[in-house]
Every structure is written in structure tokens, then in C-alpha cells.
């Protein structure tokens, strides 16, 4: 390769990078959609963490005195856009920021909401998970944005949830439930009983392949329990924001159940992890996006858990 070729390449890379950042810059104004009385969602898009912005579904519930934000997005910029969108929508101040779990697309926007009267709320195991992982997340985020990791961006929950906790928004109560290890070891779901809306966090995925970062057995157990309850509508962590219940839980249950069965079969046959990752397939690939990015990783996580079963 000559010096001239190399320069051409660098120019190509530069132009394509500029071109690629353009839709990201304009997308931050994505608006809030009303899905029920006083309940709004900023829909995410099916994409890969760090490579893209605005991935998770973010929520807002407004009471007479307080508003609660459910997840803040994958960057401070995304969090700020959400904050501005909320300001245009209501004069009710945000009192609570609830993080459904530790993953960066759900909580790296927290910093945008850090103000005196805002309380950050999460699962009792969230602070530890953030403490151990935030450094890696910020570094990855910085690699993609071409910047440096800024540790001041990390905002930890001040109030943690074990079992169930109620938040009073003024003439509206939110019920927060801390789950056993499932998608992660710090999953929180949120119910607005007034409208029968359930925010599942990443306990439910639609279209976006479920990502296993906790316990496959635990996840299926938590879904089984949630699917025995009645809700008017659910907002999954990823996928269409208005979903019927319990139907919306079924694709994830099917994927995880089949993953568990085929992984158990591999383990029983004495197969090793590497082979299992190559050979275990997604049984209904037409239902899912991002199979390439997450399926093998899920096999590894399931294998490492299930090989300890008696």
C-alpha cells in the first residue's frame, strides 16, 4: 500500500464517519409517545449498544406532584434530550429516576437528571453491579465516540429496592419490584396500577434477541410469575412499546426455554462450550434481530450456569 493509497483510505474513513454521525446527531430529539393517561414512552430502536444511540425504551409516568423517569438512555446526550422532551411536555418536576438494571443503554444518561430534588432508585444489587462494570462501560463508550472515559458520568442509586417499594407521585403510586437474578442480578420492574401499565425493563425483549447476563433458570422463573399476572399493557425493555400481556412475554420464554433445553442436551452429551456455541442454533430466527451479536454469548452464559445443575 502506498502513502497515497493510505491517505485515500483515511479520507474515506473520515468522510464515512462524518456521514454516519449525522443521523445520530439528529435522532436525539426523538419524542415521547403517550401510551396511557400520564404514561409516556421514548421508543428505542433495535441496535447494538455503543455502536448506536437511543436503544432502550425509556419511560415517563406523571403524577400530580412528581414525575418518574424509567431509564435514561445510553449517553448523557440521550439523557439530556429526554430531559428536554419532558420539560416541553409537563411542568411537573422529575422527582425519581428509576434504573431497571445496570446495562449502559439504560443508565448512562442518568447524569442529565442529576439535580437536588431528584432521587435515583434501583435494585439493591445495582450499586455493586455499577461499581464493578461502569469503568468498562465508560471505556467502551469512549472508544466508540472517540473521546475519553469520563467517570463523573456515573450516577449511582441512592435508594435501593428489596422486595417491593411504592413511590408516591401525588395521586399516583408506582410499585417497584426487585426480581431474583434473571436478565441480570439487578432487574427491577415497575407497575403503574392506575393505568395497568407494566414496565418490564429487560425482563421482556421483543424483536431484539434476549440477552442473558444473569441466570437462565431465574429469568424463566420470573417471567413465569409475571405472566400469571394481569396488565392492560406492557412496555418491554426493547421492541414495540405497546404490547399485550402475557403474549408479549411468550417469544422470550420460547427462546430461553429452547436455549436451555439444547444447552442441557449438549452438557449431558459431554460436549464442550466452544462446540456448543458453534452448534446450538436459534430455533425461530425470523422472530429476532441481532442474533449474530448475542446468541453465542447467550449460549456461553447458559452453558456456564447449567453445567452446575445436578
Amino acid at each position: 500500500m502506498t502513502a497515497g493509497d493510505r491517505w485515500q483510505l483515511q479520507r474515506l474513513l473520515l468522510y464515512s464517519t462524518i456521514l454516519c454521525s449525522w443521523p445520530v446527531l439528529t435522532s436525539a430529539d426523538a419524542g415521547l409517545q403517550r401510551i396511557a393517561d400520564g404514561v409516556y414512552v421514548r421508543p428505542g430502536r433495535i441496535a447494538v449498544v455503543f455502536e448506536d444511540d437511543s436503544i432502550a425504551n425509556l419511560g415517563l409516568v406523571i403524577g400530580s406532584r412528581c414525575a418518574a423517569v424509567i431509564d435514561t438512555g445510553g449517553s448523557v446526550a440521550e439523557g439530556r434530550a429526554l430531559y428536554r422532551a419532558i420539560g416541553k411536555l409537563t411542568d411537573v418536576p422529575v422527582c425519581f429516576v428509576i434504573n431497571t438494571h445496570v446495562h449502559p443503554d439504560h443508565m448512562l444518561g442518568n447524569k442529565a437528571f442529576q439535580r437536588d430534588h431528584v432521587q435515583f432508585v434501583g435494585h439493591r444489587k445495582l450499586p455493586r453491579a455499577v461499581a464493578l462494570r461502569a469503568g468498562t462501560y465508560l471505556q467502551r463508550a469512549a472508544e466508540y465516540s472517540g473521546g475519553v472515559a469520563d467517570e463523573s458520568q456515573i450516577v449511582l442509586p441512592e435508594r435501593t429496592v428489596s422486595g417491593e417499594v411504592q413511590l408516591d407521585l401525588g395521586q399516583r403510586i408506582l410499585i417497584l419490584r426487585a426480581h431474583a437474578t434473571a436478565h441480570t442480578d439487578n432487574d427491577l420492574s415497575i407497575v403503574d396500577p392506575q393505568t395497568g401499565t407494566l414496565f418490564t425493563g429487560d425482563l421482556v425483549f421483543l424483536e431484539h434477541l434476549p440477552v442473558l447476563d444473569g441466570s437462565i433458570n431465574g429469568w424463566l422463573g420470573e417471567l413465569d410469575q409475571l405472566m400469571g399476572e394481569t396488565f392492560e399493557r406492557v412496555v418491554p425493555g426493547h421492541g414495540p412499546v405497546l404490547a399485550a400481556w402475557p403474549q408479549a412475554g411468550e417469544p422470550a420464554v420460547r427462546y430461553l426455554t429452547e436455549l436451555r433445553e439444547s444447552t442441557r442436551t449438549w452438557i449431558a452429551r459431554g460436549g464442550d462450550l466452544g462446540e456448543a456455541q458453534e452448534r446450538i442454533e436459534v430455533s425461530r430466527p425470523e422472530h429476532w434481530q441481532l442474533i449474530e451479536q448475542y446468541h453465542k454469548r447467550n449460549v456461553a452464559a447458559a452453558f456456564a450456569e447449567l453445567e452446575w445443575e445436578d
Binding site: 456521514l19 454516519c20 456461553a300
Partner: protein, 289 residues
């Protein structure tokens, strides 16, 4: 889809294509020599001085090109010769060149191992060559190398459910499978495949707590010794590059019924042991908990 959205999607696809093209062209530029800088620039001489190392296919290292989960990268080493009294592999060194501690471990085998194959899971911190070097009983060194694309394995916790490993720390599980029972009855064909699993967080000491700004101290399995009826068949001296809940697959040639014993020592000085009864005729294994 609105016209504006469609245009944005088209621009997106075009720019992705350009970026992919550009990055392929630049990637083609990275050569094996550049990848091997850490090895040639010091690692090799630190461990092997000026001894000759040949890449003759005596062992084959298998590693995924891209690690889906950098904290659990499955690696296997296959030996091209059977373990006999006359000729056998006595030690295999395993390196991840660019890890904070490049030596993953030293693994010792004997003729009683049957075959010097090895399977385990590693943490791989960044794009790095992974290499295995086998020393045969005549003192010759044989290498096999692979390149793994992974990142963040040493600083990332393997699972977010690390409580499970902590609660059962020291619990072990042996799986033994007899192979080749339908083939002819040479010793090698009759070797058994054993997997030893150890519940242990195997903490690297490189996971920084962002709140306290302290690193959780390293705590990992550093020695594993497996013997059959008192005869050593496999020994591992390992580092934190081995994944949480270490798992080792290796062979042994049980020529009679007997007891398989594993003894494990970690960096805290804790010792764990486990025994299993093996029958050479049926390959059935009875667990003694």
C-alpha cells in the same frame, strides 16, 4: 416510512458500506509480525531464552477467532501424539500475549495421561495472540498459535450472578466419559475424558470498584493436581486469566478400577479436594460426595 426516514436509512446503509470497506482495507495492514510484538519483544526470551521452538503441528491450539464473551473464551489444545513411556508431552505453557499477566498457566502431563489434550476457558483482555508451547520428554519445544479478538475479559466480571460462585466456593464436580469403547482396544483408544469443574470466583484483581476506587483483591485457583490411584496424571499451575468457575478437560488412561483425586489450592491458601471412583470396563462413574 417517511421520505426523510428512508433517505436517512439509505445514507446509513451507504455509510456503513463505506466504513466496512475502509476498515477492511486498514485491517489487512496488520500483519502477524505486528501482532506478535509482545512475544518477540520479550515474552519469548523471558520464558524460553534462546531455545529452539518449532511450529510443526505436534500440538494444535483451537480458539474462536472472535470471542463472544471475553470473560469466557473456550480454548482447546489437541496433541498429535499419544502419551507413551517412550515419548510424551510433559508440559504445556499457555500464553495470552497481551493480557496483563500473559502466562495463563503451565500444565503438566505424564504417560498415564493417555493423551495430552487440554480444554479450558480464559479471560482475554484485548485483541491478542494466544499460544501454546508443548515440551516433549526429549526437551523439544513445539508451538501452536491462534489470534483472538476479544476485549475487557480481565476487568469484566464473568457473570453478574457472582454470588452463586461465592456461595459455593470450593465445590467441585468431576465428569468422566469413556471414549473409544467401540474402537480397537489400544491404550489410547481407551483413555477417558475427564472434566474437573471448580466453583471459584477466580477474581483477577483488575476489577476496579468505581465507588471506592479500590481494586477487589485477586483471589484465584493457583494449583490443581489430579491423580489416579496415587499416580499423577495432570497438574495445572494457573493464573487469574482462567475464567470464573475454572473448568479443565483432560484425558487419563484408567487401566484398572480406581480412584481419581483432585486437589486444589487457591491464593488464599484454601485447599479443596474431591475424589471419584472410576471403573475402566464400563466407563461408569460413581460420584462420592
Amino acid at each position: 416510512m417517511s421520505t426523510r426516514t428512508r433517505r436517512r436509512v439509505e445514507a446509513g446503509s451507504l455509510c456503513m458500506a463505506l466504513m466496512i470497506l475502509a476498515s477492511f482495507a486498514s485491517l489487512a495492514h496488520a500483519t502477524t509480525a505486528e501482532e506478535d510484538m509482545a512475544w518477540t519483544g520479550g515474552l519469548r526470551s523471558a520464558y524460553f531464552a534462546d531455545r529452539e521452538i518449532v511450529s510443526d503441528g505436534l500440538i494444535t491450539l483451537e480458539a474462536p477467532q472472535r470471542a463472544e464473551n471475553a470473560a469466557i473464551v473456550p480454548i482447546s489444545i489437541k496433541a498429535g501424539i499419544p502419551q507413551t513411556e517412550d515419548r510424551y508431552i510433559r508440559t504445556i505453557w499457555l500464553f495470552v500475549d497481551k493480557n496483563p499477566g500473559p502466562l495463563v498457566g503451565k500444565f503438566h502431563f505424564t504417560p498415564a495421561s493417555g493423551r495430552a489434550d487440554l480444554g479450558l476457558r480464559l479471560r482475554v483482555d484485548t485483541y491478542s495472540p494466544v499460544r501454546a508451547i508443548a515440551e516433549t520428554n526429549d526437551g523439544a519445544l513445539h508451538m501452536s498459535r491462534s489470534f483472538v479478538k476479544a476485549s475487557g475479559g480481565c476487568s469484566a466480571p464473568a457473570s453478574s450472578d457472582s454470588d452463586a460462585a461465592r456461595e459455593e466456593l470450593g465445590k467441585m464436580k468431576f465428569l468422566v466419559r469413556k471414549e473409544g469403547v467401540e474402537a480397537d482396544s489400544s491404550e489410547v483408544e481407551q483413555s477417558g475424558l475427564a472434566q474437573l469443574m471448580i466453583r471459584h470466583p477466580n477474581r483477577s484483581g483488575l476489577q476496579m470498584d468505581q465507588v471506592t476506587r479500590h481494586y477487589a483483591p485477586a483471589e484465584f485457583v493457583r494449583q490443581v493436581t489430579v491423580s489416579f490411584e496415587g499416580e499423577e496424571i495432570f497438574e495445572a499451575e494457573t493464573s487469574f486469566a482462567v475464567s470464573e468457575n475454572p473448568s479443565f478437560r483432560f484425558y487419563f488412561a484408567p487401566r484398572r478400577a480406581g480412584q481419581l483425586t483432585a486437589e486444589v489450592l487457591d491464593t488464599e491458601g484454601r485447599q479443596f479436594s474431591e475424589t471419584y471412583d472410576v471403573s475402566p470396563l464400563t466407563g461408569e462413574v460413581a460420584a462420592r460426595q
